[in-house]
Symmetry: C2
Subunit: 366 residues, 2 copies
């Protein structure tokens, strides 16, 4: 990476003020220099791992699928056969601490239900592995803090899988906002709603999911308001609705919320587990606007600007991009733009959104 590009790249991550210190060991560096590929173990073999992460790993430059953690023996067999994973690299949640003895695994990517992220991330860190973790980071601020502490204590890097932070349409929108191409942003709108089926499993259980639509997809809209403005909200106000209380007995179904940021920009957002087809983000600025719609799918993103220009880039594999970036951060001993602190911020704001919906009061985050 040229020095100038590197400086620009680092400037982009300026929001990451306190990067967790971690050690890029001589062994890791030596291995990396040999193969340039870090070994990833996927922890949790649900749909995301099966349909997205394993195929994405095959497309990465700096990563390779090196191991799995699963509680389902049949899945272990299928993955061993399909990806040629040696038996010694297959773990259960009970045995994953033994990874400490496996130098082929550098990173554990935690893809289990939200409420188990902390347990598995901490186990991985204690086994000496770097941790990449699906969003939402965990279901409480306290658990997020424990994850950060565990990785810091083990000298390992912790990253949260915010794939849009590596996607060209989103990066272009961030540039348009930060460089004030249409003047100062004033009003941001973002929403992500999907219709979940009755097969949503743990996503409808409070203990495992921690919340519903907001924790799962609303977090994309929340993130968007934060990375588009480059600011942290100081006030949130939310209204919740549950039109199918039987299905959504334990988790939120639909929420709309508003936020105010320090510079004065405001945002209005929505999320739903019962209304599909909502997935856009839009910045209304002093002299124009720009938007992505759809904004949050894995592909097919499309953007428009008030000057008539399109925002259009070739499709990339966002999962490959985020894993490659995380691997490079490890290899180069630099912070990630999506550290645990970033995951914690969203969890804190989401808790405030829930509190506001529950109490009928705006919640200050200043």
């Amino acid at each position: 990476m040229a020095d100038r590009s590197r400086r620009r790249f680092l400037a982009e991550t300026a929001a990451v003020l306190a990067a967790a210190p971690f050690v890029s060991t001589r062994a890791t560096r030596a291995r990396a220099q040999a193969s340039r590929k870090l070994g990833f173990a996927l922890c949790g073999l649900g749909r995301l791992s099966t349909d997205q992460l394993a195929p994405a790993l095959a497309k990465t430059k700096y990563c390779r699928l090196a191991g799995i953690v699963t509680g389902t023996p049949a899945k272990a067999e299928a993955w061993k056969a399909r990806y040629g994973i040696p038996a010694a690299h297959v773990y259960s949640y009970e045995t994953m601490h033994r990874m400490a003895d496996n130098p082929d695994i550098d990173v554990v990517y935690v893809v289990t239900p939200n409420g188990l992220h902390g347990e598995h991330a901490i186990a991985a860190a204690q086994a000496g592995k770097h941790v990449f973790c699906e969003k939402p980071m965990e279901i409480s601020v306290e658990r997020c803090q424990r994850m950060i502490q565990a990785c810091r204590g083990a000298g390992r890097l912790l990253g949260i899988a915010y794939r849009c932070r590596f996607e060209p349409h989103h990066l272009e929108c961030i540039r348009l906002a930060r460089e004030r191409v249409f003047g100062r942003p004033l009003i941001v709108q973002a929403g992500f709603g999907i219709k979940v089926g009755d097969d949503a499993g743990w996503r409808l259980r409070r203990e495992l999911a921690g919340g519903g639509a907001l924790m799962d997809v609303g977090i994309y809209a929340l993130q968007a308001t934060r990375y588009l403005t480059g600011e942290e909200p100081v006030l949130v106000s939310a209204v919740e609705t549950r039109t199918d209380p039987a299905k959504f007995a334990e988790v939120d179904e639909s929420l709309v919320w508003t936020t105010r940021f320090p510079s004065g920009v405001v945002a209005y957002c929505s999320t739903s587990y019962n209304a599909g087809g909502i997935q856009n983000m839009r910045v209304n600025a002093e002299r124009g606007w720009f938007e992505l719609d759809p904004a949050f799918f894995y592909g097919g993103l499309r953007g428009r600007r008030s000057d008539g220009q399109e925002i259009r880039f070739p499709r990339i594999d966002m999962f490959a991009a985020e894993m490659d970036d995380f691997a490079r951060c490890i290899l180069e001993g630099r912070p990630t733009r999506v550290p645990g602190e970033e995951g914690l911020r969203d969890v804190r704001i989401m808790q405030a959104i829930y509190e506001s919906a529950r109490t009928g009061r705006a919640v200050s985050l200043a």
Copy 2:
């Protein structure tokens, strides 16, 4: 109008529960039967009257420009010359009570600053005229109530100029929502923001305008959430921002708000006097969505549906449509779908939005 069409039309106005009683006098009916055109006096000759209403009156079937009320003698001369208005049909705000003696004027269309609507509407009603009034109806609930009482007391019809209620794209969206073509509506999004210049005059003065962006353009978004759902909000929650406090010292610049309706549908909305280019409305329902963007201009409206169909109708003159409808309501002795009670509801909700923004608490409207 065929009986079936008439029944459908009346069903559309079912929300208008308590229509103000009024008298369609024998004289009015006789004149109307002769000419089929009611005489409209425009009260307030600003940009809207000049650029929209006078040209629109020429396109109506049931109305004609019969008089003017203005405080500016030069305007009176120009309008007399341009439209052939006899001197006896030209009034000032001080002399408009004399309209009582002018049988050629049936309706006074009040187009003065918001905070003067009440005074002029009441003067018109007391002169025996029906009253059509620009939105927002007035700047307080109490003033709206006085207007309703004055018209009711005089036996005259009172209508508020909600032009979108007569526009085919909006009527089609209302149909899509009410007939649940995409299932039950769950989340409505609407926003209207314009960038006002330094020449915004009385619109930036609290005493005359009563408020800023919300009262002037946000009201379109608010109305949309109400006519799309066919319900009255029970809870509103708002966040305000002022990025240009010098210009917007007296009135609101930008607001985002959320509302909940009795059936459970929620809405998230925005308005601004500093961010142009926001003007859309969208219904996210159980099995799809539909939207207009742009939604609130005088023309060029364009709609999309989740099934790929466009929502597209020929442009109409919305001002001509709303005036013709009001004239027909008078001629046929039936209620309008935009009575004073409808204007009052919006003013009440807007006051609640301001209160929520001020106090940081959700405001109950139940």
